[in-house]
Symmetry: D2
Subunit: 361 residues, 4 copies
């Protein structure tokens, strides 16, 4: 089902870029979890446009309203409906999009699949769709951290174009990430990346990159072997984020460089706790969390919207040229960080509830 995600903690997002608003309904949230509007709004504020000079200038407060499922800041166990009204709808800026297919955008495919398309601002394919994910992710975070204190999810921009942040996952500090507008893990990289993004924007061009994400303090035993392995559901979640082109966990695409004798993570006892000396497994073995940090990396393509002339075709199947207009987000990665974290929380929450269902205790 297109817009529904999760088996136990199940979310359904809705909303087009230039419709009345966007939102999400969460079905399956446990009762008795403390949840305030501010917890959700704080997550949305990290995602919203206009936070700095390197992201899209679309100016939306993205104020969330809790429509149901919460009473006096506590979840009821009933569906939680969250809604954000659209405000800044300058659809005239997008008139060209009505008939011309923007290269590497969803326009053509939507038209072919559905025979109809909410063309203004990208409609359902707009990045605004991720508002529902981030809002639901904040709820998932509250659930996980209540039922299982100590779990932390941390994402950061590890690469923009060719600039790679050298900090290793174990040493990334959330406060540092949040202290710079790129959301990378050290100040020097932040400066270089911001500069590159500004240059790309000035040129009407765009940049991609890599977002890394680590889960710390994950309990052992999350993840369902076979099809719903923890890494498989994380991959599903992450690859569903717009512009994501690749996913890897642990050693990832570097795995083939190792021989088995180099790659295997030897077990040892750390006091009472079974641990591994290395973590090429990325915190998951046999599809199940083993208690080590879960390390992931996601590749993002450069934004498809450009302020440049491009060759394309229109919906009459004529070859035409498209001249970029409207607002331009030269690099989505800083704003992708809270989306990546949200997707991780959603996956963890779903597996945690499942594990509670079957576990002996």
């Amino acid at each position: 089902m297109s817009s529904t995600f999760g088996s136990h903690f199940s979310i359904s997002t809705w909303g087009e870029s230039h419709g009345a608003g966007v939102g999400v309904v969460i079905d399956g949230c446990p009762p008795g979890i403390r949840l305030t509007r501010e917890m959700i709004q704080r997550a949305l504020d990290r995602r919203r446009p206009g936070q700095s000079d390197i992201v899209t200038p679309r100016n939306e407060a993205d104020a969330v309203e809790i429509l149901s499922g919460v009473l006096e800041d506590v979840t009821l166990g009933t569906p939680i409906a969250l809604s954000v009204r659209n405000k800044d709808q300058r659809s005239s800026a997008y008139d060209e999009m009505q008939h011309t297919y923007r290269p590497s955008h969803a326009d053509y495919c939507y038209d072919e699949k559905y025979g109809i398309r909410a063309w203004a601002g990208g409609g359902r394919a707009s990045a605004r769709e991720t508002i529902g994910r981030v809002a639901a992710g904040a709820v998932a975070q509250a659930v996980v951290q209540t039922l299982c204190p100590g779990v932390e999810v941390l994402a950061w921009v590890q690469q923009v174009h060719t600039i790679v942040c050298p900090v290793v996952p174990e040493e990334v500090d959330a406060a540092v990430v949040e202290s710079n507008i790129v959301r990378t893990a050290d100040a020097e990289s932040a400066e270089a990346m911001a500069e590159a993004i500004r240059a790309a924007r000035s040129a009407g061009d765009s940049l991609g990159g890599v977002v890394a994400c680590t889960v710390r303090g994950c309990p052992v035993g999350l993840g369902d072997p076979v099809f719903d392995k923890l890494e498989a559901t994380l991959a599903h979640a992450m690859m569903s984020i717009p512009a994501c082109k690749g996913f890897e966990v642990g050693s990832g695409f570097a795995a083939p460089r190792y021989k088995g004798s180099e790659h295997n993570d030897a077990f040892y006892m750390d006091g009472e706790r079974v641990r591994t000396r290395t973590n090429r497994s990325g915190g998951i073995q046999g599809g199940i969390s083993n208690g080590e940090d879960i390390n992931m990396r996601l590749a993002f393509k450069p934004t498809a919207t450009l302020m440049l002339v491009q060759d394309t075709v229109n919906d009459a199947h004529e070859e035409v040229q498209l001249r970029g207009k409207g607002r331009h987000d030269a690099c989505v990665l800083p704003r992708a960080v809270p989306v990546v974290e949200a997707m991780a929380w959603l996956v963890l929450c779903d597996h945690l509830l499942h594990q509670r269902a079957i576990a002996r205790r």
Copy 2:
């Protein structure tokens, strides 16, 4: 749900390595599709052990039985149950596995998650579990190729350890892939790869690599935007294959190297058909197939089973050493190829049925 995959064409696999057998039930297969036992057996023969000197010598015919859902080589629309009996169960060779956790295997995590484990041969975490996938994949292939003639799925070993096959996806020939025991795309790479695998096996060590997969002739319009994007469900499917550590589509992890102006795929008219001049999108835009080849790459870690002494712990949480015994598969990639293809067919079939449900016609 752990062992169930797919929404419309839904499969449930079952079976432990050393139990009575392994198999799959397919619920949701359309009626009236021609399906013979041979079509399924042929797929399984490509997956079974003992095909050559570079894969595991476990000798199993893996003969499939169709238990239901098919009458006189035509599907009935009712569940198709497929079963393969286990034969070669030398569990004595695995006695050590009962209490000792093999590094980078699922043993420890299973014990922690379930409190019980079918230790012989890896139980449910054994590669034998993929038999159900391959059998079901053959059925999915029959469905897709009947309802939508012209679709082809082709996977091959693109890399073993540091040896990379240079053939580009567009030029890979299925006959060449099937003509060499490594299942790579040219004879020279095949020889080098086979040699590397033999050397690793002699050393009691193991190798990983990369499997590439391309879908040719895919109709426009498959894939559900938002959570069940075509690439997201493919990632889910592929990352659920044992030992898979990374997934990428189109430009994948190379995407960040491009600027937007370099990365965008310009549309043009090829006769009546809308096409793109480049294919960095990998055949998918906005989560929906655009009719170009769907190109994926999967990273596989080196097999965790080694014929070497390794440090580890046992289920009494004592640090011990493990001495590899039993059968040894120094490189799973040749046998992973049909599994990758099967997972691609399953995903395509599921999306195709969904599209038929909603499409105007």
Copy 3:
């Protein structure tokens, strides 16, 4: 999942009686279906309180807003979010409900299940929850009648307390049903039923009854044999309506009175069409529609809310007395009619989309 219904045409309802509002998100609606706000509002107007002197006086316009998924009165194929704001929230009238369990209401069970409860107005257990069903049902109706013209769903009040409307299903006329405030099938019954309801209300008491529902023009072939038989999913749908205590199809609970030779529906040819001479099967055989009218009956208990003194316990587990206050709906049946129809449309739509997915054509 509690508040989600349907596999292909999947709806998630949300909202408490005295929260911000109630609504529904529909995921899986086909694109290109004509759908106006009025089509949904009209359905809601039939469900809303205050339509006549025999239903609850709670006065709500229940104005629906389409938040997403529709462009210029045509469905986009993306999620359709529908919302109705709560207005008339006199929660002071319900203060007693905060700690006292109303007999035969959900209060006690919610407290035990969730440990928390939106007590005002019944919260999620309020009849206001059915607004989401009726709104989604109007969309399902549009889909079914577009893809499969000629299907009609018609429900009516067949019994109130001991007063039974004698009109047989084949002769029930929608215009007659809508012409009387009870929504029964003839004027004489309507008058007697209305009188009985008024008398019950005057006494602070309440009445139950039977709603009958017939589907005319249903195509042959809807319904999945085994677990999702058409009658099983209809039963699920109908028994999920608040206060529904029984469901029967075709001969129903009268079936045992017949011998097989009396009960079997003989097939015959009606021109080109295979038909049955009798219809004890109720339009469904082997879980699949056979083209005859689908006839169902649903038993509703009398409303649990009374304006009388009742013995009960409170949340401190003390025995107390409850004195009815607030608004009182002495008989829910007239307003249950559009809810029953909505649930029938939802089930039909889900099966129709499934059948399109698997059918040869």
Copy 4:
């Protein structure tokens, strides 16, 4: 999905009457539950044909094999595959069924829906399909009784044709039910019912009836309000049993006879326990179990297979006569009893696992 039932404890049944066999795969069974082959076989023995002179003489041992998911009589948490081979396949006796539609059977609808049909013995529509339900029900029972000791499910034949067993649900004794071949609740009724069945069989005719089912010791809090109310999922489960035409819970179709003041179940304190003085709710309020007995009744039509001449049509759409041949089960109710119990266990298990997922503790 046709042949899959349950969200957490999910079963997929497979098998045609005259294929290789029938069976079920259970996905989602918790680990660590004691489960022996005998526990499943015992349930199947109560369902199998040939137990007495009043049921079908088809003689099948119906020996179950556990293919996976269980190690040394303990569940592993992995899928449990159960299989029963078909033995007594006298398809020649059914030759006429290949082209002639048996009245009130599924033949015609299968042909229209699927365009193909396993005609021998009714194929998937055969009562043999219920073997998978009963086998899975035995596993569900083991899970529920392990996680929640004290729950009991008891079904019995309450009516055959016009003969009604007068024992009230609270006084039905499992030992008495099992001591007579009809599986009714007292010896006198048993004799009368058996006589009626023998007479019907001699006449080539058949009888229907009512099966009652009660759940004792159900914990408070099972059932999901809104769509997956406990009574709604029970109705779904029961109405999916072949030949079931009606379902009611608590007061059921008698509910309308009461006024609200007569129908409401007053709460009182029974020591520490909140109880109701009457139980017209049937143990469920607001869709959630309240700890009282859950009382259900199911109507079954008389078996459609008759040893009499019947008017019908064939697959060439000619009007023809059908002359009953082969084995004849004049009354399915005694064998429906274990099927009804199995469906109740499956529903309870699913809700119990869900409640464990969300409950605070």
